[in-house]
């Protein structure tokens, strides 16, 4: 038995049935980011400098390139989930909300795509 009113259902009010997956995805990506982010920060700190050649040689090494790619993908996912909640919390106009959510999705894919392509160029370049 549903407790929702027919009018509420027709207006599309109530649960979108995707809340748990969103909440869970935020936590799982958070756990994955703990080691990935710490690896990234301390790897950069341990490099002798951040010159063009040094930084490229570091990302050319398969393990760094692979981990950097994972980092970018998981950061993009975590950031997308987090910023989405902020738009949903504060933007109440349906049109602006849709615009905000779509912009966030496009921007995250764009930024992550550019970063991953850059890592691949360095990893497979000479």
């Amino acid at each position: 038995m549903s407790l929702r009113s027919p009018l509420g259902r027709a207006r599309g009010l109530g649960s979108a049935k995707a809340g748990t997956a969103h909440w869970w995805g935020q936590r799982v990506s958070a756990v994955a980011l703990i080691p990935l982010c710490l690896w990234f920060v301390f790897s950069l700190l341990l490099l002798p400098n951040l010159d063009y050649d040094t930084a490229r040689a570091w990302l050319h090494w398969p393990v760094s390139g692979f981990l950097a790619m994972l980092l970018v993908a998981v950061v993009a996912h975590h950031s997308y989930l987090g910023t989405t909640v902020i738009v949903e919390d504060y933007v109440h106009d349906e049109g602006y909300k849709l615009l905000g959510l779509l912009s966030l999705k496009f921007l995250h894919v764009l930024v992550a795509g550019a970063a991953i392509f850059a890592i691949l160029r360095i990893a497979f370049g000479n």
């Binding site: 958070a30 982010c37 710490l38 987090g82 850059a118 160029r121």
Partner: protein, 130 residues
Amino acid sequence: MPARARPLSPHVGIYRWQIGNTLSILHRFTGIFLALGFVALSYWLVALAGDSSAYASASRLFASPLGWLALLGWTFAFFYHLLNGIRHLFWDAGYGFERDARRTSAWLAVGGAFLLTLGVWGLLWHFGRL
């Protein structure tokens, strides 16, 4: 059908300002700021994948006064969001809800973030990287 005024819960303004709500807001702010840092990271990677002149102009931007300030901010935002995020994961697992535990973990998150930021920049300064 005229829209009826719906009952509203008390607005945030009537509550006493405390460490808990301050850190909750700070978690959001650092999250937004770190999302901007993700764009900066992507820019750095794209410049690094280009030729050395593209990387040189990116390096100049990061080494400008505003660049240093942003990097310092991202360091603090990263460590704070990390530590407070771990605090949230403990809550999600059902631990640390008691008043004392909540306050202790709150100050650990802020204090830890300050110490780690200081540590990282101290190391950079110590090894002559600044």
